[in-house]
């Protein structure tokens, strides 16, 4: 939040009969599950593999530039803007037709997304039949830029029944004043148990770690995710927006050393960072790709480091994020294009991925939807051969 509400208003915030901002004081708790009302085709019985997709859907805003991106100043959308965007998002999901979708930045009753229940929208407009929603930001009114009521979170959608769903609380930032912190996102790991038939249950995880902290919160959250996965006893898959670059190099290594990032991985100066964001609370903090190394060491990524390659020319094909869309120009007059990788899929070490990719635009894996105009993140997909 750019500015905090004067303390004078604090008594009013407590005067109503519900929490103005849900403190989310849980460690681990079950969350609601939903099922589609529409009749969708039944999935394959006793599958040997699952098609998986992870996609940050930017609350159904497609490429509308919001105020914290600094390329625009929108704070809310009309109902038709949201449903038009979600219709195209759902169409792309139907094209790829995943068995399991992990999605971040999805909203259910938020003023900025016209109070559209986006989990329900995707349930009714894709072939996914079950869903679990893990709220991470639930305020009756966010007193910043007129954001108002918000309920944002992550969701796991599945063609197979979700038998249990829960959220696991992540660490909060410590670099905010108490009032800002009260109204800020409370990150959580989403976990759903999915019955894929024949007595087999798998665990699907969705995560979205902190983007703007300056106090190491994101690194702690990534470490916690790693620990939770190491403790998982079921076969598992995780997808999400880690807000971190792949560990091609070590950002702490000096230039000229073998581990140095110079020439291997861009760490800053992305073309979609607007100068006016510098010095604000939405300035992009330095990336620390080394924190992702243990994920590549201990788990199986959908895009290996060898395939990802060294240098932007090789890596460009697997970039998953750009604040700026292809129909907007940056300060240098260049159109927005995918500029870095922040989104991942992992499974347990030794298990097998096939047909993995990043659906950046039409033609990838024969999908014709244009993800570059549907969100500021591209969907990461793969087929997980079940153990």
């Amino acid at each position: 939040m750019r500015r905090t509400l004067p303390l004078l208003l604090l008594p009013l915030l407590l005067a109503s009969c519900e929490w103005v901002a849900d403190p989310m004081s849980f460690t681990r708790e079950e969350v609601p599950r939903f099922k589609a009302r529409a009749e969708h085709p039944a999935p394959a019985a006793n599958p040997t593999s699952l098609k998986v997709m992870a996609w940050n859907v930017k609350y159904g805003a497609c490429r509308i530039d919001f105020w914290f991106d600094f390329w625009g100043d929108r704070v809310q959308m009309s109902e038709s803007e949201v449903t038009d965007c979600l219709t195209r998002v759902a169409a792309l999901i139907r094209e790829y037709d995943p068995d399991i979708l992990m999605t971040e930045e999805i909203e259910v009753d938020s003023k900025r997304s016209a109070y559209v229940d986006q989990v329900r929208f995707l349930l009714e407009n894709t072939n996914l039949r079950y869903a679990a929603y893990m709220s991470t930001w639930n305020s009756r009114f966010v007193p910043s830029e007129g954001v108002g009521r918000i309920n944002l979170g992550n969701a796991i959608l599945s063609r197979y029944p979700i038998t249990k769903a829960e959220r696991i609380r992540q660490e909060d930032r410590t670099d905010q004043d108490p009032l800002t912190s009260t109204f800020y996102i409370k990150r959580a790991i989403g976990r759903a148990e999915v019955d894929v038939g024949n007595g087999r249950t798998i665990a699907a995880y969705v995560v979205h770690t902190e983007a703007y902290d300056q106090d190491g919160t994101k690194q702690k959250q990534i470490q916690q995710i790693h620990e939770v996965l190491r403790a998982e006893t079921l076969p598992w898959v995780i997808g999400g927006d880690f807000n971190e670059l792949p560990p091609v190099c070590d950002e702490r290594a000096a230039a000229g050393t073998p581990e140095s990032c110079v020439g291997k991985l861009r760490l800053s100066g992305f073309l979609d960072e607007r100068e006016s964001s510098q010095g604000t609370e939405f300035e992009q903090p330095p990336y620390t790709p080394s924190v992702m190394k243990r994920f590549y060491d201990d788990f199986e990524p959908s895009i290996s480091l060898a395939r990802y390659g060294v240098g932007e020319e090789n890596q460009r094909r697997y970039f998953t994020h750009s604040v700026l869309g292809p129909d907007s120009m940056n300060d240098q007059g260049l159109p927005g294009t995918w500029s870095r990788t922040l989104d991942y899929l992992f499974i347990r070490k030794g298990e097998v991925w096939t047909d993995t990719d990043v659906i950046q635009g039409p033609g990838r894996l024969e999908v014709q939807g244009d993800a570059s105009r549907l969100s500021d993140h591209a969907p990461v997909v793969g087929t997980w051969r079940l153990p």
């Binding site: 109503s16 809310q76 009756r140 830029e145 007129g146």
Partner: protein, 286 residues
Amino acid sequence: MRALLMAVLLSGALMSSTPASAQPPPAWDTADVGPRGSWSVGVFNPLRIAVHDSVELQTHPLLFFVAPNVDARFALLRSPLRLTAEAGLSMPTLAMRLVKGYLFPSWGTSQNDIGWMLIPRAGLLLSGNVLEHDVWTLRADATFRIPLGPNSATPLNFFLTPLDLVLAAPLTGFRSRVGGAYDHAFNDRLRLRGELNLYVTGSQGNLIVSGRDVGAIASVSPLVLTAHVGVDIAVSEHSRITAGVLWANADQGATRLIEGADGFSERVRVRSNDFLPTLDFIWQGF
């Protein structure tokens, strides 16, 4: 124990009459007007001055310099029923612009802004007496927006309904109210007042972005119900404390989860209830 003793003594004092004045403080916010020269003002209640036996002027001093506002009250009937017409005008734009960045967007990359506007209001109040000092009041009023330029501000859908009601006309273009109140005098120090109001606001309207209409804003119910119960405690012949509780029922976009027998949930839209304390200190003179 000391606190309990104080409470008992205070209650006793309030429930007993005071021979010196022997008249309860007059009911407020009724159709009564004047007499000329009489006035009242609260910390939050408006300043009201009778400039004529049948005409009062009213303004909110706290807001006057950021949201100039004035109401005139004209006594049409005097006794036993009192009928009063109200007409007012305000210009809230500057006050609204002061909370840009909090309640409204800053619009840092565009020319969008909160537009200049005039907010006229008209209403009628009818009051009558029951017993010697009880007063009932019925009221109806309507408030409108006259735009004086382009406006990008949209309804707040705030978590405290009273603010949405204050800003209903500037942000939705319209607010009307019908309501009633009953004010009972227990003795010369203590009054009890109950009030019920039904409001209808304008629609949420369309979202205008840099002069372009991008579609309808999600609708919320335009109906708002409020009730207020409060006591007036006379502190002196010319001052009183008012304290009470306001309940407001409105659509704030909230939902509730209903879990079915199969363990799956449905999300349903619900109306929200606010309970707010009210407190003021009112001076009045003749």
